[in-house]
Symmetry: C2
Subunit: 187 residues, 2 copies
């Protein structure tokens, strides 16, 4: 039982890809590097509203797209989502924060994801990093995630972090960026 | 809400090291290979009742012991705990089973642990594997673990799986082996 001096803090679990790490941006960078040219326009984020990259790209390119995730450097070079570092560090003062990534889907990503977190979020203790598959296993009050399938499995309150693919999804409180997370949890 | 036809199953989380994987046995094998000789008796499991290897071994050997865990092959060659495969597969018919390892303590172990599970427990879907640090994050009804520190953090019922180091620990239901797990959950 928590003592009256230290009331138990709410737990927030935070997804990695598309929430703190811009995996989609890196996907587009690699796709356009490989396929955009004078005759084929680059795919933009606007092209992906309500759709995933594999729904826009021709079928014969799907194996190439799938392979980007397995390239050694993919998860190491991802850009940090704007304001996520500052807001996550602030959240830690009022909440218990865990990073929870569905890393089991890409087992080659474990070390790169771990190293990326150490580099960009050194204030998250390794004890509070979770690599999982099905997020029903998380005991947290909130899960901030862009994936509606994971939010549906989760047993606390799911907060939908906006990404192009999920703009038509309803049924969850939604945050469009980390300033919105800050307002929701800290104002 | 689960339908009456499929009542929600209880969730059991199961630790890896000392519960399904004999990490201590491999530690002793490597220690005795390096330090036991005509003048120094091998350390046995009996020597470790209520103590950890680093409490028995001279201090100057601690860096060597710590390093065993970081050797590339360590987590790949671990023996499977007797009956754990058969009983875990039976548990899946009545419970939702997750494997939950505190792998964040040894980040070099991720891939070896993942591969070891695929080899010896292929019936556990990767969606039900969790690499974490602090097991307070697990939403499960039961956690079978040899580590009292993790059981104290866990919010469901902790089941203490006997290992030499924990024989003096009280306060949890205890199982000495996988036949005892089978009896507790399936009889």
């Amino acid at each position: 039982m928590p003592s009256p001096q230290s009331p138990e803090r709410k737990v927030i679990a935070v997804d990695m890809d598309e929430v703190i790490a811009d995996a989609l941006g890196e996907h587009l960078t690699r796709y356009n590097r490989d396929f955009a040219n004078d005759h084929a326009a680059a795919i933009t984020l606007d092209d992906l509203r309500g759709r995933r990259l594999w729904q826009v790209a021709p079928a014969q390119r799907h194996p190439v797209i799938d392979n980007y995730l397995r390239e050694d450097d993919f998860f190491r070079v991802l850009q940090v989502m704007p304001n996520s570092q500052r807001v996550l560090e602030r959240l830690q003062s009022r909440y218990e924060v865990f990073i929870a990534s569905a890393a089991m889907e890409v087992p080659t990503s474990f070390v790169a994801k771990y190293d990326w977190l150490a580099e960009h979020f050194p204030f998250i203790p390794t004890s509070h990093i979770v690599f999982c598959g099905d997020k029903s296993i998380l005991r947290a009050d909130y899960l901030i995630d862009d994936n509606p399938r994971q939010l549906a499995l989760f047993r606390g309150e799911g907060i939908l972090y906006t990404s192009p693919a999920n703009i038509h999804i309803n049924g969850y409180r939604r945050v469009d960026n980390w300033l919105a997370v800050e307002k929701m949890f800290l104002s």
